[in-house]
């Protein structure tokens, strides 16, 4: 058990330790330290000022990531909760077909539609603005893969809410739409929050679309910057900077994930198995 624990913790400790290395300017760690040889926030201060070779500061990159992830997550749950409700509660012509259509998209990887999306969004040009080369464009492309997941997850959750609650409200004289807004929506809040968080997570770490679509460093995201630090410009990045960046990307979402974990597994297994 202790051995397994060590192997799980090892990469995490390694990276955290490097990020606090007081010798932030040396390019590579010459010795293996799981306890840092001192403590310094220099690596963090360095990357806040200038995370990569591009003239963009960390706050700008973070803002881009937050806007992209937050915007697409919010849009996906707002649209999906209506669709999830319709799939869960109504029996209507074409229901089965539409559900299969949603599910089919779910198994397709994002890169499968990368080429057509790139070509199509590239066509939308208004003056100097090109939808493809913009955060809203990436957000829309992201939405196309988030939406089926959100619909399916929310449908699974709504399936577990007893119908009697709405029936009671109807008898008390609520209109059908009122039952949705006053009964269903409040009851689904936990599932909506978790689905939105998972959507946020995939936007936060999205790489392939943004890397393909965005060319202006002002629009770059944290995930793209991390790749810049390990990919083609790896040789010019001190590992302490790379480590600090990893921690900055991973820490906030990991903490939220840990806090939500109890609800997460419940919501997800229901969403997954009930389908």
């Amino acid at each position: 058990m202790v051995l397994i624990t060590l192997s799980v913790l090892f990469p995490i400790l390694w990276v955290v330790s490097m990020s606090f290395d007081p010798r932030a300017d040396i390019m590579r760690p010459t010795t293996l330290n799981l306890v840092p040889p001192g403590f310094s926030l220099k690596a963090y201060l360095d990357i806040i000022e200038k995370p990569s070779a591009n003239p963009v500061s960390l706050p700008v990159l973070t803002m881009n990531s937050v806007l992209l992830a937050g915007g697409s997550a919010l849009a996906s749950v707002m649209i999906a909760v209506f669709a999830g409700y319709a799939f869960s509660r109504f029996r209507f012509a074409g229901r089965q077909t539409l559900m299969i259509a949603v599910l089919a998209v779910l198994i397709l990887p994002t890169v499968a539609t990368l080429a057509p999306l790139f070509v199509l969004l590239n066509r939308v040009v208004i003056g100097d603005f090109n939808l493809r080369n913009s955060l809203p464009g990436v957000g829309l492309a992201l939405l196309s893969s988030l939406l089926p997941f959100a619909i399916w997850n929310l449908k699974g959750y709504i399936d577990t809410i007893p119908k009697e609650l709405e029936e009671a409200a109807l008898i008390d004289g609520a209109s059908p739409n009122q039952t949705f807004f006053y009964i269903m929506l409040p009851l689904s809040t936990p599932a909506i929050a978790i689905t939105a968080f998972l959507g946020f997570l995939s936007g936060w770490t999205e790489f392939s679309i943004s890397w393909q679509f965005l060319t202006d460093p002002q629009n770059f995201t944290l995930a793209m910057t991390l790749y810049n630090m390990t990919g083609q410009y790896a040789s010019s990045t001190p590992w302490s900077h790379f480590s600090a960046m990893s921690v900055i990307i991973a820490l906030p979402v990991s903490l939220v994930y840990l806090a939500l974990q109890k609800y997460m597994s419940g919501g997800l297994t229901i969403g997954g198995v009930k389908g």
């Binding site: 890169v111 539609t113 057509p116 790139f118 939406l147 393909q212 994930y257």
Partner: protein, 337 residues
């Protein structure tokens, strides 16, 4: 009377409303989602299908540029025969590697995941809560970060893996130079009869680190619902712990593990971040999977038509896998029932 014909249809109408969960029109609720998906998902998919029959490339990208030429099945033939401008491209190898990658990973995940869940569930284990809290960390940390960190850990000169091995080797008097292992770049297959480069094993190690905790969580949940009486009864009948494991634990875990395995297969098959960031598909495309190849076709080669055809192949392969896993999981479902 004028009121009669109006009154009559009200009854079936009210009835239909009732059977429809007495609600507003379901289609109204579906409009926003279907609108977005039509524009952003289905139309691009249909457009991609059309693109797969053309020689769409960089030259056709500008709005005022001429439309691409229709080339029929040429893209599909070029991909299948490996007649692309990309060096070392071998479609059959990539598909085979992708499948082998998926099944080897999921198998290891399930075996390790279940064994650790059983260990965690053992009576009298100290610090159970602490272990559980630590073991979810790989799930919680974004794959993107995990992959980039492991990439650096596998660095031959400064990576933690080689340095750690050298430290261990030093204890038994081996020189540090013996552990200058080129995990990602090395071309020699470490196991002579398996045509897999060392990078595959580096990826496997990374993905095992990443993947087993999910299986453990699923298995732990299922283990806790197995009544202790079963084991007590079995040991009274003289069953050994091994017999108990295969006679009670394994069959009762099956219903919970099958959906997790299906999920794991789809996830591992399309595991872009891990492969792209750890090995980059190298060396010589030997660890490239379908999604990383598809990304390269768009991102580096800018062969949009061929990339679209590649996506069609990927979709077909995924469809077959999904149908097979569905069939298998249904079969076990009815077996359990």
């Amino acid at each position: 009377m004028a009121t009669m014909p109006i009154a009559r249809p009200e009854t079936p109408n009210a009835k239909r409303q009732h059977s429809n969960s007495r609600l507003a029109n379901p289609y109204v609720y579906l409009i926003p989602a279907m609108l977005i998906m039509s524009v952003m998902t289905y139309y691009p998919m249909a457009y991609g299908l059309w693109m797969s029959f053309t020689d769409y490339a960089l030259k056709n990208l500008r709005i005022d540029s001429p439309p691409p030429n229709f080339v029929g099945l040429q893209n599909f033939i070029d991909i299948a025969t490996g007649a692309l401008t990309i060096p070392n491209f071998d479609f059959a190898y990539t598909v085979a590697f992708n499948l082998f990658w998926t099944f080897s990973n999921v198998t290891v995940h399930v075996i390790i995941g279940v064994l650790i869940a059983v260990l965690l569930n053992a009576r009298g284990l100290w610090f159970r809560g602490v272990y559980r809290a630590i073991f979810v960390l790989p799930i919680v940390i974004p794959t993107l970060v995990v992959a980039n960190v492991w990439r650096n850990m596998f660095d031959p000169d400064f990576g933690a893996i080689n340095q750690g091995l050298a430290a261990l080797g030093g204890l038994i008097g081996m020189p540090a130079s013996a552990f200058h292992i080129r995990w990602i770049e090395s071309l020699d297959p470490p196991i002579p009869f398996l045509p897999l480069p060392l990078a595959y094993f580096a990826l496997l190690i990374t993905n095992v680190w990443l993947g087993w905790p999910f299986m453990t969580i699923v298995a732990t949940g299922a283990l806790q619902s197995i009544p202790r009486d079963y084991y007590e009864a079995a040991s009274m009948d003289g069953a050994s712990p091994t017999q108990q494991f295969f006679g009670i634990t394994v069959p009762l875990l099956r219903p919970a593990m099958v959906p997790a395995i299906v999920y794991g297969i789809t996830l591992t098959f399309n595991l872009f971040n891990l492969i792209y960031f750890v090995s980059g598909g190298g060396p010589l495309r030997q660890t490239e999977i379908l999604v990383t190849t598809a990304f390269r076709l768009v991102n580096q080669e800018r062969l949009y038509g061929i990339a679209a055809a590649f996506a069609v192949y990927t979709a077909i392969i995924l469809l077959v896998i999904t149908l097979i896993t569905n069939r298998v999981s249904r079969a076990t479902e009815s077996y359990d029932a």
